[in-house]
Amino acid sequence: MPQPPTHSSSLDMAQPEPIDLSSGKYVKLWQGPQHPGITGNMSLELTLCGDEIVECKTHVGYLHRGFEKFMERRTYIQNFTVVCRIAVPEPTFNEYLYSAAIEELAGIEVPERANWLRALNLEMMRLASFLMWTGGMSGAFGLYTVPNWTLTYRDYILDLFEELTGARIYHMYIVPGGVRNVLPDGWKARALEILKGTEKMMREVDRVMMNNAVFKARSKGLGLIPPDMVDPYGIVGPNARAAGFKRDLRKDEPYLVYDQLDFEVVTATASDAYERAWVRQQEIFQCINLIRQMLERMPDSGPFQAQMPNVLHWKIPPGETYLKAECTRGEYGYYVVTDGSEYVRRVHVRGPSYTHAIAVMERLAVGTNIADIAGLMVSLHTYPPEIER
């Protein structure tokens, strides 16, 4: 276990020596936004000395749509369709957290069955997101076989989503007050079938990717996050768990039905790219296990939506709340302030990528090889749309 974090050492904000580009010793290089090695649409401004990076600046905002602004002029129900666009590869957490925050502020109690369906959705989303990440991680190091497999299985899970929610990517299923639909006939059996296939495929991935000499050579020791960096940089989720911090909101502050499920928090000892990949690998199996538990224990009847007021002119009393959930990248949070009107006063979306992609990335990139930037970036698991919103 790591030592409790201390703060002074890792707050090394002293500016390094200024880089004199005219000296001819350095090369300035932009990676992205048009660059296949960058996850999503963002860019890195790298200063190289030889192959080594001496300075990295993250540039974001290519996906800035001003969500927090235009959510302030949409009604509560209208916002629920908007929020899922904030994190494109993993929209469900936005839906859930937004809905839950609104419900808390409006004092709405959600029926038990809806909670199970929500948790099922979240866990499936985690699984799909992890599968895509696995493909990205392997692709970043040039192993193009694995992405083809994992993305296919992600697609199978999206098929399940499509059947359940009516859409592949933006499900818009978890709505303030409950959920929009119930499990279709035969869905459980199909889900179990796909989970079985996914598990089998992931064991192959385990062999091919995690037990791969070259993959290990590339990822071990890459982008090591020392334990004392975790708190000052606000590192959460698998990135922190790989450093040995047993922090998982599903366990620490259980929401929905997670307190009724049986699982262990996965931790590793040193948060380098390989360990982070390993933690996520284990969490994929954990996801599969959790989904199975949920399918088994979920109630099959009962209401799935709370008694709702007319959403067309829904006013919510003044209040403020911050809700969070454990997404694939860690703590995803919604800070919602209402002022009694039909419109939300302020929404702040805390995406874990915010710090991972900017502060953490800029620090970890220094000293690494130019070739490892893509792998480092993927290993931190960042989704640009949730950074700039």
């Binding site: 129900i77 818009m172 791969n212 709702m308 007021p309 002119h313």
Partner: protein, 596 residues
């Protein structure tokens, strides 16, 4: 670097001997969207009422309500249909969820590409699209609602309690209940067109949600000076077209109206409501102080005209006072409305009958305009033998007596003949007077013109309904204070032309029943005898009713008519609108000299 790490990656080759994951090249055909897929929109145009809720809820402004060729606006359908802009739509399906009529849904079709971006715009269900015939796709789950489908039940006196007295049956909403009920309104405004008075229903319901009842009252008085009355006894055609009622129960517009009035004390009316404009010096005579007459009086007075009302009875209100029993419309409520009208300076001459006390022609001579709304006060005849039997009584007289505090002497068993509101009133009044009541009606229950609620309440209060029963003859009974009614069963005969079924008397199935009183309540007619024939000859009158022109104006420029005597619907709200519209016409006529 262990040997295992070198060898195990070669397991990728296992996959080479399996079938590829790849789907076929025509995935759209091979892989239609899931059964609940949110694909392209389809609208059952016949079911759609064009309420525009989809437009309201769409956060992307992807929906326009547009006029469509071949569809006209009529009561309960705005004639508009949603046009979707697929340069905006995000397929969230909120429009489907909110669709009041349940006409809008999504198909599982998802492929549409074009070179011209302006193509992505279509009126769903009105333009031919490739996905028109598809059955799959997203529709709202029956247990999932974006507004409460059930209305807040009005608390009623229990039947056993209500039948014992003339206390008002409906207790009225509490503030909390009213707000919850007001919340159900989707603010489409379809009801406004259907309401004869075109009241600003969504607006005053909105004011309930805001808790601003004074504003609500102001809004109601813009179109209706009888809100307390209409809040209780209105026939509420608005609710029959309320889109919320298509898949659930309509918003209780009437009770909400009543709630607003109940929240504001009469003393505050003068402060809240508009005051009389500067005197114009014009004098207007109004015949009949019923809802029509007083409504005209109110709006004319507001414009600053001097208004005199001539009423043959001792109190104002007309049929509202004498025809509607007080358990439905208590006198204080009616008085609240009338008092406000009088407080503006409307002069009412009671017990003053035109034709008897003043000649009709004098009115025309002495006043700048005359508004006639004398109502329907002559009961229709059953046209059976023995109709003049002393124990056969007409329903209006029964109600009138009760309203005036007289005992109508109906005995303990009463037969009420008819299925309208007057019949129900008569039946329930009789119950309250302690009689056993049998209601005889020639058609089926569902054909009864009375309000369903009235029927249910009457049933709950113990009135026995005998349907498809046609009275044939009233006979003398064994006892002199009783009457024997001969009636026959009827069969409903379908009209080959598709009209409503006609009851046909079955001669072989006759019954004889003896009652203390038989109350006939099969309708009313008018009495226009006060109009001299030389005048009435000039007027358009049919079946005892005026046929007014625009702005309720008759061929005589000064003469305006309204109320039951001039319309087909014969209910309070229509009379109110007639009065209002006549006031508008009179004002316009006096102001500009224009005919309607």
């Amino acid at each position: 670097m262990s040997l295992k790490d070198l060898i195990s990656p070669f397991f990728v080759w296992q996959r080479a001997f399996e079938k590829p994951y790849t789907v076929g090249l025509k995935p759209i055909v091979e892989r239609p969207g899931a059964p609940a897929y949110r694909g392209f929109h389809i609208n059952m145009s016949d079911d759609c009422v064009g309420c525009g809720s989809c437009f309201t809820i769409c956060q992307n402004h992807a929906i326009d309500m547009v006029k469509v060729d071949g569809l006209e606006a009529h009561g309960g359908d705005s004639g508009l249909r949603p046009r979707f802009d697929y340069g905006r739509c995000c397929w969230c399906g909120l429009c489907v969820d909110i669709c009041t009529a349940g006409s809008l849904r999504m198909t599982n079709e998802y492929a549409w590409f074009t070179t011209n971006p302006d193509d992505f715009r279509f009126v769903a269900g009105m333009e031919n699209k490739s996905w028109d015939g598809r059955t799959g796709g997203y529709h709202r789950h029956p247990d999932y609602h974006l507004f409460p489908p059930k209305r807040i039940e009005m608390e009623m006196l229990a039947p056993e309690e209500s039948v014992a007295s003339f206390t008002e049956v409906a207790k009225g909403y509490t503030e909390e209940q009213a707000k919850l009920e007001a919340d159900r309104c989707v603010e489409c405004g379809i009801c406004v067109a259907t309401c004869p008075a075109h009241m600003d229903v969504p607006d005053y319901i909105h004011s309930i949600r805001d808790g601003d009842y004074e504003k609500g009252l102001q809004l109601m008085y813009r179109t209706n000076p009888f809100p307390a009355t209409c809040g209780r006894i209105c026939t509420r055609r608005c609710e029959s077209v309320c889109p919320v009622g298509i898949q659930g129960e309509p918003v209780a517009i009437r009770w909400l109206k009543r709630f607003i009035v109940d929240q504001v004390a009469e003393a505050d009316y003068a402060r809240i409501l508009p005051n009389v404009e500067a005197d114009t010096g014009k004098r207007i005579a109004i015949v009949g102080a019923g809802p029509g007459g007083l409504s005209a009086a109110y709006y004319l007075r507001l414009k600053g005209h001097a208004v005199e009302v001539f009423e043959s009875q001792a109190q104002a209100g007309g049929m509202l006072r004498y025809g509607v029993p007080s358990y439905r419309l208590p006198d204080p409520a009616l008085d609240k409305d009338i008092e406000h009208i009088r407080s503006l300076g409307v002069e009412i001459h009671f017990n003053h009958s035109i034709g008897r006390d003043t000649a009709f022609s004098d009115l025309l001579d002495n006043y700048d305009a005359v508004f006639v709304s004398t109502g329907l006060n002559v009961p229709s005849q059953m046209r059976i033998q023995g109709e003049d039997h002393p124990r056969v009584m007409d329903g209006l007289k029964l109600l009138d007596d009760v309203a005036n505090g007289k005992d109508p002497q109906i005995g303990t068993s009463v037969a009420v003949i008819g299925g309208g509101n007057v019949a129900m009133d008569a039946a329930r009044v009789s119950r309250r007077l302690g009689a056993e009541v049998t209601v005889l009606y020639r058609r089926r229950i569902e054909d009864m013109p009375a309000d369903t609620e009235e029927i249910h309440e009457a049933q709950a209060e113990g009135c026995i309904f005998v349907t498809q029963a046609i009275p044939v003859e009233a006979l003398n009974a064994a006892q002199s204070d009783q009457v024997t009614l001969k009636w026959g069963e009827a069969e409903m005969l379908q009209d080959p032309k598709g009209g409503r079924p006609r009851p046909v008397l079955q001669e072989e199935r006759m019954h004889l029943d003896t009652f203390d009183t038989v109350v006939s309540a099969i309708g009313q007619g008018s009495n226009l005898d006060y109009i001299p024939t030389e005048i009435s000859d000039q007027l358009q009158i049919k079946w005892g009713k005026f046929i007014p022109g625009d702005y309720q104006q008759m061929v005589l420029n000064k003469l305006f008519v309204g109320g039951d005597v001039a319309n087909a619907t014969a209910d309070a709200i229509s009379a109110i609108e007639d009065g209002h519209h006549a006031a508008r016409g009179i004002h316009r006529f006096l102001d500009t000299g224009q005919r309607g």
